[in-house]
Symmetry: C2
Amino acid sequence: MAPELAKVLKKGELTRQRIIEMSAPVFNRKGFAGCSLAELLKATGLQKGGIYRHFDSKEALALEAFDYAWEQTKEARRGSITMSATPKTQLMEFIRSFRKPLETLAGGCPLLNTAVEFDDQGNTALRQKAVEAMEEWLFFLQELFQKGVEQKEFPRSLNLRSTSMCIISTLEGAVIMSQLLETQEPLTHACTFLENWLNIL
Amino acid sequence: MAPELAKVLKKGELTRQRIIEMSAPVFNRKGFAGCSLAELLKATGLQKGGIYRHFDSKEALALEAFDYAWEQTKEARRGSITMSATPKTQLMEFIRSFRKPLETLAGGCPLLNTAVEFDDQGNTALRQKAVEAMEEWLFFLQELFQKGVEQKEFPRSLNLRSTSMCIISTLEGAVIMSQLLETQEPLTHACTFLENWLNIL
Protein backbone atom coordinates (compact mmCIF):
# COMPACT_ATOMS: atom_id res chain seq x y z
CA MET A 1 0.00 0.00 0.00
CA ALA A 2 1.24 3.48 -0.83
CA PRO A 3 2.35 5.32 2.32
CA GLU A 4 -0.08 8.20 1.55
CA LEU A 5 -3.07 5.85 1.34
CA ALA A 6 -2.05 4.08 4.56
CA LYS A 7 -1.89 7.46 6.26
CA VAL A 8 -5.39 8.43 5.09
CA LEU A 9 -6.78 5.06 6.18
CA LYS A 10 -5.10 5.35 9.53
CA LYS A 11 -6.47 8.82 10.04
CA GLY A 12 -9.95 7.59 9.12
CA GLU A 13 -9.65 4.74 11.61
CA LEU A 14 -8.58 7.15 14.33
CA THR A 15 -11.51 9.47 13.63
CA ARG A 16 -13.85 6.51 13.68
CA GLN A 17 -12.51 5.39 17.05
CA ARG A 18 -12.74 8.93 18.40
CA ILE A 19 -16.41 9.15 17.36
CA ILE A 20 -17.12 5.91 19.22
CA GLU A 21 -15.29 7.06 22.36
CA MET A 22 -16.95 10.47 22.44
CA SER A 23 -20.45 9.28 21.71
CA ALA A 24 -20.39 6.37 24.19
CA PRO A 25 -21.01 8.56 27.29
CA VAL A 26 -23.81 10.42 25.46
CA PHE A 27 -25.63 7.19 24.56
CA ASN A 28 -24.99 5.86 28.05
CA ARG A 29 -26.41 8.92 29.79
CA LYS A 30 -29.30 9.73 27.49
CA GLY A 31 -30.22 6.29 26.19
CA PHE A 32 -30.40 5.32 22.55
CA ALA A 33 -33.86 6.82 22.09
CA GLY A 34 -33.22 9.89 24.24
CA CYS A 35 -29.93 10.79 22.57
CA SER A 36 -30.34 13.17 19.65
CA LEU A 37 -28.10 13.57 16.62
CA ALA A 38 -27.48 17.17 17.76
CA GLU A 39 -26.03 15.86 21.03
CA LEU A 40 -23.79 13.42 19.20
CA LEU A 41 -22.55 16.19 16.92
CA LYS A 42 -21.84 18.40 19.93
CA ALA A 43 -19.99 15.61 21.75
CA THR A 44 -17.86 14.66 18.74
CA GLY A 45 -17.39 18.18 17.39
CA LEU A 46 -18.27 16.90 13.91
CA GLN A 47 -20.84 17.73 11.25
CA LYS A 48 -23.53 15.21 10.33
CA GLY A 49 -21.57 14.11 7.25
CA GLY A 50 -18.49 13.52 9.41
CA ILE A 51 -20.34 10.91 11.45
CA TYR A 52 -22.24 9.28 8.58
CA ARG A 53 -19.02 8.89 6.60
CA HIS A 54 -17.98 6.34 9.23
CA PHE A 55 -21.30 4.84 10.37
CA ASP A 56 -24.35 3.85 8.32
CA SER A 57 -26.82 4.92 10.99
CA LYS A 58 -27.24 6.12 14.56
CA GLU A 59 -27.88 2.50 15.49
CA ALA A 60 -24.64 1.30 13.88
CA LEU A 61 -22.75 3.87 15.97
CA ALA A 62 -24.73 2.95 19.10
CA LEU A 63 -23.76 -0.72 18.72
CA GLU A 64 -20.07 0.11 18.61
CA ALA A 65 -20.45 2.62 21.41
CA PHE A 66 -22.05 -0.09 23.55
CA ASP A 67 -19.14 -2.46 22.88
CA TYR A 68 -16.69 0.25 23.83
CA ALA A 69 -18.64 1.19 26.99
CA TRP A 70 -18.93 -2.44 28.06
CA GLU A 71 -15.20 -3.04 27.56
CA GLN A 72 -14.42 0.04 29.65
CA THR A 73 -16.76 -1.15 32.40
CA LYS A 74 -15.33 -4.65 32.47
CA GLU A 75 -11.78 -3.37 32.58
CA ALA A 76 -12.61 -1.05 35.48
CA ARG A 77 -14.27 -3.83 37.49
CA ARG A 78 -11.83 -6.59 36.70
CA GLY A 79 -8.89 -4.28 37.23
CA SER A 80 -9.54 -4.54 40.95
CA ILE A 81 -9.09 -8.32 40.93
CA THR A 82 -5.82 -9.95 41.94
CA MET A 83 -5.38 -12.63 39.31
CA SER A 84 -3.11 -14.73 41.57
CA ALA A 85 -5.64 -14.76 44.43
CA THR A 86 -7.98 -17.69 45.16
CA PRO A 87 -11.38 -17.75 43.39
CA LYS A 88 -13.22 -16.72 46.58
CA THR A 89 -10.89 -13.77 47.14
CA GLN A 90 -11.32 -12.76 43.51
CA LEU A 91 -15.11 -12.85 43.95
CA MET A 92 -14.81 -10.76 47.11
CA GLU A 93 -12.61 -8.23 45.30
CA PHE A 94 -15.03 -8.08 42.40
CA ILE A 95 -17.97 -7.40 44.72
CA ARG A 96 -15.94 -4.86 46.70
CA SER A 97 -15.26 -2.92 43.49
CA PHE A 98 -18.94 -1.91 43.55
CA ARG A 99 -18.41 0.09 46.74
CA LYS A 100 -16.99 2.85 44.57
CA PRO A 101 -18.96 4.33 41.65
CA LEU A 102 -17.58 3.65 38.17
CA GLU A 103 -15.52 6.60 37.10
CA THR A 104 -14.67 5.39 33.63
CA LEU A 105 -17.93 6.32 31.96
CA ALA A 106 -20.61 8.95 32.50
CA GLY A 107 -24.10 7.54 32.96
CA GLY A 108 -23.37 4.45 35.04
CA CYS A 109 -23.54 0.82 33.96
CA PRO A 110 -24.09 0.51 30.18
CA LEU A 111 -25.55 -2.98 30.53
CA LEU A 112 -28.17 -1.76 32.99
CA ASN A 113 -29.07 1.26 30.91
CA THR A 114 -29.39 -0.70 27.68
CA ALA A 115 -31.23 -3.57 29.36
CA VAL A 116 -33.89 -1.29 30.82
CA GLU A 117 -34.24 0.80 27.70
CA PHE A 118 -34.73 -2.22 25.46
CA ASP A 119 -36.45 -4.67 27.79
CA ASP A 120 -39.72 -4.33 25.96
CA GLN A 121 -38.76 -3.23 22.47
CA GLY A 122 -38.53 -6.44 20.52
CA ASN A 123 -35.42 -8.09 19.27
CA THR A 124 -33.21 -5.17 18.34
CA ALA A 125 -29.48 -5.48 17.82
CA LEU A 126 -28.79 -3.32 20.91
CA ARG A 127 -30.99 -5.51 23.07
CA GLN A 128 -29.04 -8.52 21.80
CA LYS A 129 -25.79 -6.79 22.81
CA ALA A 130 -27.15 -6.37 26.34
CA VAL A 131 -28.23 -10.03 26.48
CA GLU A 132 -24.75 -11.15 25.41
CA ALA A 133 -23.09 -8.84 27.95
CA MET A 134 -25.30 -10.24 30.72
CA GLU A 135 -24.54 -13.85 29.72
CA GLU A 136 -20.84 -13.02 29.63
CA TRP A 137 -21.00 -11.55 33.14
CA LEU A 138 -22.91 -14.59 34.41
CA PHE A 139 -20.33 -16.89 32.84
CA PHE A 140 -17.48 -14.93 34.43
CA LEU A 141 -18.95 -15.37 37.93
CA GLN A 142 -20.00 -18.98 37.36
CA GLU A 143 -16.47 -19.86 36.31
CA LEU A 144 -15.01 -18.28 39.44
CA PHE A 145 -17.50 -20.18 41.62
CA GLN A 146 -16.70 -23.39 39.72
CA LYS A 147 -13.00 -22.91 40.45
CA GLY A 148 -13.85 -22.11 44.07
CA VAL A 149 -15.75 -25.40 44.32
CA GLU A 150 -12.81 -27.27 42.81
CA GLN A 151 -10.50 -25.65 45.36
CA LYS A 152 -12.96 -26.52 48.15
CA GLU A 153 -13.70 -22.89 48.99
CA PHE A 154 -17.38 -23.53 48.27
CA PRO A 155 -19.49 -26.67 48.69
CA ARG A 156 -20.07 -29.02 45.76
CA SER A 157 -23.83 -28.55 46.18
CA LEU A 158 -23.59 -24.87 45.25
CA ASN A 159 -25.85 -23.91 42.35
CA LEU A 160 -23.37 -21.88 40.29
CA ARG A 161 -25.90 -20.23 38.00
CA SER A 162 -28.42 -19.29 40.68
CA THR A 163 -25.69 -17.93 42.97
CA SER A 164 -24.20 -15.86 40.16
CA MET A 165 -27.61 -14.53 39.16
CA CYS A 166 -28.37 -13.41 42.72
CA ILE A 167 -25.07 -11.56 42.95
CA ILE A 168 -25.69 -9.69 39.70
CA SER A 169 -29.30 -8.93 40.68
CA THR A 170 -28.29 -7.49 44.03
CA LEU A 171 -25.43 -5.42 42.61
CA GLU A 172 -27.37 -4.06 39.63
CA GLY A 173 -30.40 -3.23 41.75
CA ALA A 174 -28.14 -1.42 44.22
CA VAL A 175 -26.49 0.51 41.38
CA ILE A 176 -29.92 1.79 40.33
CA MET A 177 -30.95 2.69 43.86
CA SER A 178 -27.66 4.45 44.58
CA GLN A 179 -27.92 6.52 41.40
CA LEU A 180 -31.52 7.40 42.07
CA LEU A 181 -31.09 8.34 45.74
CA GLU A 182 -27.71 9.96 45.00
CA THR A 183 -25.97 8.12 47.81
CA GLN A 184 -23.59 5.17 47.94
CA GLU A 185 -25.60 3.75 50.86
CA PRO A 186 -27.49 1.03 48.91
CA LEU A 187 -24.27 -0.17 47.22
CA THR A 188 -22.41 -0.20 50.52
CA HIS A 189 -25.14 -2.30 52.13
CA ALA A 190 -25.42 -4.60 49.11
CA CYS A 191 -21.66 -5.27 49.13
CA THR A 192 -21.61 -5.99 52.88
CA PHE A 193 -24.63 -8.26 52.45
CA LEU A 194 -23.02 -10.23 49.60
CA GLU A 195 -19.60 -10.43 51.27
CA ASN A 196 -21.21 -11.83 54.43
CA TRP A 197 -23.20 -14.27 52.35
CA LEU A 198 -20.14 -15.53 50.45
CA ASN A 199 -18.57 -16.25 53.82
CA ILE A 200 -21.37 -18.57 54.92
CA LEU A 201 -21.88 -20.42 51.62
CA MET B 1 -74.15 23.99 39.46
CA ALA B 2 -76.40 23.55 36.45
CA PRO B 3 -76.84 19.83 35.64
CA GLU B 4 -75.61 20.42 32.06
CA LEU B 5 -72.36 21.99 33.24
CA ALA B 6 -71.83 19.23 35.80
CA LYS B 7 -72.26 16.68 33.02
CA VAL B 8 -69.70 18.40 30.78
CA LEU B 9 -67.24 18.65 33.68
CA LYS B 10 -67.76 15.04 34.57
CA LYS B 11 -67.22 13.97 30.96
CA GLY B 12 -64.03 16.07 30.86
CA GLU B 13 -62.78 14.40 34.03
CA LEU B 14 -63.47 10.97 32.60
CA THR B 15 -61.63 11.78 29.38
CA ARG B 16 -58.71 13.11 31.40
CA GLN B 17 -58.55 9.91 33.43
CA ARG B 18 -58.82 7.79 30.29
CA ILE B 19 -55.88 9.67 28.73
CA ILE B 20 -53.78 8.93 31.84
CA GLU B 21 -54.71 5.25 31.89
CA MET B 22 -54.08 4.74 28.18
CA SER B 23 -50.80 6.63 28.03
CA ALA B 24 -49.30 5.04 31.19
CA PRO B 25 -48.31 1.76 29.46
CA VAL B 26 -46.83 3.71 26.52
CA PHE B 27 -44.62 5.86 28.78
CA ASN B 28 -43.71 2.78 30.80
CA ARG B 29 -42.66 0.74 27.79
CA LYS B 30 -40.99 3.44 25.73
CA GLY B 31 -39.70 5.79 28.42
CA PHE B 32 -40.44 9.47 28.67
CA ALA B 33 -37.86 10.42 26.06
CA GLY B 34 -38.53 7.46 23.77
CA CYS B 35 -42.29 7.91 23.70
CA SER B 36 -43.47 10.13 20.87
CA LEU B 37 -46.60 12.26 20.72
CA ALA B 38 -47.73 10.12 17.76
CA GLU B 39 -47.62 7.02 19.97
CA LEU B 40 -49.64 8.78 22.68
CA LEU B 41 -52.23 9.86 20.11
CA LYS B 42 -52.46 6.30 18.79
CA ALA B 43 -52.84 4.85 22.29
CA THR B 44 -55.51 7.33 23.36
CA GLY B 45 -57.27 7.57 20.00
CA LEU B 46 -57.28 11.36 20.34
CA GLN B 47 -56.02 14.30 18.30
CA LYS B 48 -53.22 16.52 19.61
CA GLY B 49 -55.72 19.15 20.77
CA GLY B 50 -57.66 16.50 22.68
CA ILE B 51 -54.64 15.75 24.85
CA TYR B 52 -53.42 19.32 25.26
CA ARG B 53 -56.90 20.44 26.35
CA HIS B 54 -56.33 18.36 29.49
CA PHE B 55 -52.55 18.54 30.00
CA ASP B 56 -50.21 21.49 29.60
CA SER B 57 -47.38 19.38 28.24
CA LYS B 58 -46.14 15.85 27.60
CA GLU B 59 -44.32 16.09 30.94
CA ALA B 60 -47.50 17.04 32.81
CA LEU B 61 -49.19 13.96 31.38
CA ALA B 62 -46.12 11.79 32.11
CA LEU B 63 -46.19 12.84 35.79
CA GLU B 64 -49.80 11.77 36.20
CA ALA B 65 -49.20 8.60 34.18
CA PHE B 66 -46.33 7.73 36.55
CA ASP B 67 -48.58 8.21 39.60
CA TYR B 68 -51.21 6.00 38.02
CA ALA B 69 -48.66 3.32 37.04
CA TRP B 70 -47.09 3.31 40.51
CA GLU B 71 -50.48 2.97 42.21
CA GLN B 72 -51.31 0.02 39.93
CA THR B 73 -47.98 -1.62 40.72
CA LYS B 74 -48.35 -1.15 44.48
CA GLU B 75 -51.88 -2.51 44.46
CA ALA B 76 -50.78 -5.58 42.50
CA ARG B 77 -47.89 -6.31 44.89
CA ARG B 78 -49.64 -5.51 48.13
CA GLY B 79 -52.75 -7.35 47.02
CA SER B 80 -50.88 -10.58 47.66
CA ILE B 81 -50.29 -9.71 51.33
CA THR B 82 -52.52 -11.11 54.07
CA MET B 83 -53.08 -8.09 56.28
CA SER B 84 -53.88 -10.22 59.33
CA ALA B 85 -50.64 -12.22 59.01
CA THR B 86 -47.51 -11.57 61.10
CA PRO B 87 -44.98 -9.02 59.75
CA LYS B 88 -42.55 -11.77 58.73
CA THR B 89 -45.26 -13.65 56.84
CA GLN B 90 -46.29 -10.42 55.14
CA LEU B 91 -42.68 -9.82 54.09
CA MET B 92 -42.47 -13.38 52.75
CA GLU B 93 -45.71 -12.91 50.81
CA PHE B 94 -44.48 -9.62 49.41
CA ILE B 95 -41.23 -11.19 48.20
CA ARG B 96 -43.12 -14.20 46.83
CA SER B 97 -45.28 -11.90 44.71
CA PHE B 98 -42.16 -11.24 42.57
CA ARG B 99 -42.14 -14.86 41.42
CA LYS B 100 -44.86 -13.91 38.96
CA PRO B 101 -44.40 -11.07 36.46
CA LEU B 102 -46.61 -8.01 36.97
CA GLU B 103 -49.59 -8.29 34.71
CA THR B 104 -51.17 -4.96 35.54
CA LEU B 105 -49.01 -2.80 33.33
CA ALA B 106 -47.07 -3.28 30.10
CA GLY B 107 -43.39 -2.44 30.34
CA GLY B 108 -42.60 -3.79 33.81
CA CYS B 109 -41.82 -1.82 36.97
CA PRO B 110 -42.47 1.92 36.45
CA LEU B 111 -40.12 2.87 39.28
CA LEU B 112 -37.27 0.96 37.71
CA ASN B 113 -37.91 2.35 34.24
CA THR B 114 -38.15 5.94 35.43
CA ALA B 115 -35.19 5.58 37.80
CA VAL B 116 -32.89 4.34 35.07
CA GLU B 117 -34.11 6.83 32.46
CA PHE B 118 -33.62 9.81 34.76
CA ASP B 119 -30.68 8.72 36.89
CA ASP B 120 -28.36 11.16 35.23
CA GLN B 121 -30.66 13.86 33.92
CA GLY B 122 -30.68 16.48 36.62
CA ASN B 123 -33.47 17.25 39.00
CA THR B 124 -36.53 16.79 36.84
CA ALA B 125 -40.04 16.37 38.23
CA LEU B 126 -40.21 12.77 36.96
CA ARG B 127 -36.93 11.90 38.63
CA GLN B 128 -38.35 13.34 41.86
CA LYS B 129 -41.41 11.11 41.47
CA ALA B 130 -39.15 8.06 41.22
CA VAL B 131 -37.18 9.15 44.30
CA GLU B 132 -40.40 9.52 46.31
CA ALA B 133 -41.69 6.14 45.12
CA MET B 134 -38.41 4.50 46.15
CA GLU B 135 -38.47 6.14 49.60
CA GLU B 136 -42.09 5.06 50.02
CA TRP B 137 -41.18 1.45 49.18
CA LEU B 138 -38.24 1.54 51.59
CA PHE B 139 -40.49 2.93 54.32
CA PHE B 140 -43.08 0.20 53.69
CA LEU B 141 -40.48 -2.56 54.19
CA GLN B 142 -38.79 -0.83 57.12
CA GLU B 143 -42.11 -0.55 58.92
CA LEU B 144 -42.83 -4.26 58.43
CA PHE B 145 -39.36 -5.15 59.75
CA GLN B 146 -39.87 -2.77 62.68
CA LYS B 147 -43.13 -4.53 63.58
CA GLY B 148 -41.40 -7.88 63.15
CA VAL B 149 -38.72 -6.79 65.63
CA GLU B 150 -41.40 -5.67 68.08
CA GLN B 151 -43.09 -9.05 67.74
CA LYS B 152 -39.71 -10.78 68.23
CA GLU B 153 -39.73 -12.31 64.72
CA PHE B 154 -36.44 -10.52 64.01
CA PRO B 155 -33.56 -9.57 66.32
CA ARG B 156 -33.40 -6.10 67.84
CA SER B 157 -29.96 -5.61 66.27
CA LEU B 158 -31.43 -5.74 62.74
CA ASN B 159 -30.57 -2.71 60.63
CA LEU B 160 -34.01 -1.97 59.19
CA ARG B 161 -32.88 0.40 56.46
CA SER B 162 -29.96 -1.65 55.21
CA THR B 163 -32.05 -4.85 55.21
CA SER B 164 -34.87 -3.15 53.30
CA MET B 165 -32.42 -1.68 50.78
CA CYS B 166 -30.86 -5.09 50.09
CA ILE B 167 -34.28 -6.64 49.47
CA ILE B 168 -35.26 -3.92 46.99
CA SER B 169 -31.86 -4.08 45.27
CA THR B 170 -32.06 -7.84 44.81
CA LEU B 171 -35.66 -7.79 43.56
CA GLU B 172 -35.23 -4.85 41.19
CA GLY B 173 -31.99 -6.23 39.78
CA ALA B 174 -33.71 -9.59 39.23
CA VAL B 175 -36.64 -7.87 37.50
CA ILE B 176 -34.19 -6.33 35.02
CA MET B 177 -32.34 -9.57 34.44
CA SER B 178 -35.56 -11.54 33.97
CA GLN B 179 -36.90 -9.05 31.45
CA LEU B 180 -33.63 -8.97 29.57
CA LEU B 181 -33.09 -12.74 29.43
CA GLU B 182 -36.82 -13.34 28.90
CA THR B 183 -37.02 -15.94 31.63
CA GLN B 184 -38.37 -15.93 35.19
CA GLU B 185 -35.22 -17.77 36.33
CA PRO B 186 -33.42 -14.76 37.92
CA LEU B 187 -36.58 -13.72 39.82
CA THR B 188 -37.19 -17.27 41.02
CA HIS B 189 -33.62 -17.52 42.34
CA ALA B 190 -33.76 -14.05 43.90
CA CYS B 191 -37.00 -14.88 45.75
CA THR B 192 -35.65 -18.19 47.05
CA PHE B 193 -32.45 -16.43 48.12
CA LEU B 194 -34.33 -13.67 49.99
CA GLU B 195 -36.82 -16.08 51.58
CA ASN B 196 -33.97 -18.25 52.89
CA TRP B 197 -32.21 -15.17 54.15
CA LEU B 198 -35.29 -13.87 56.01
CA ASN B 199 -35.42 -17.25 57.74
CA ILE B 200 -31.91 -16.95 59.17
CA LEU B 201 -32.06 -13.27 60.18
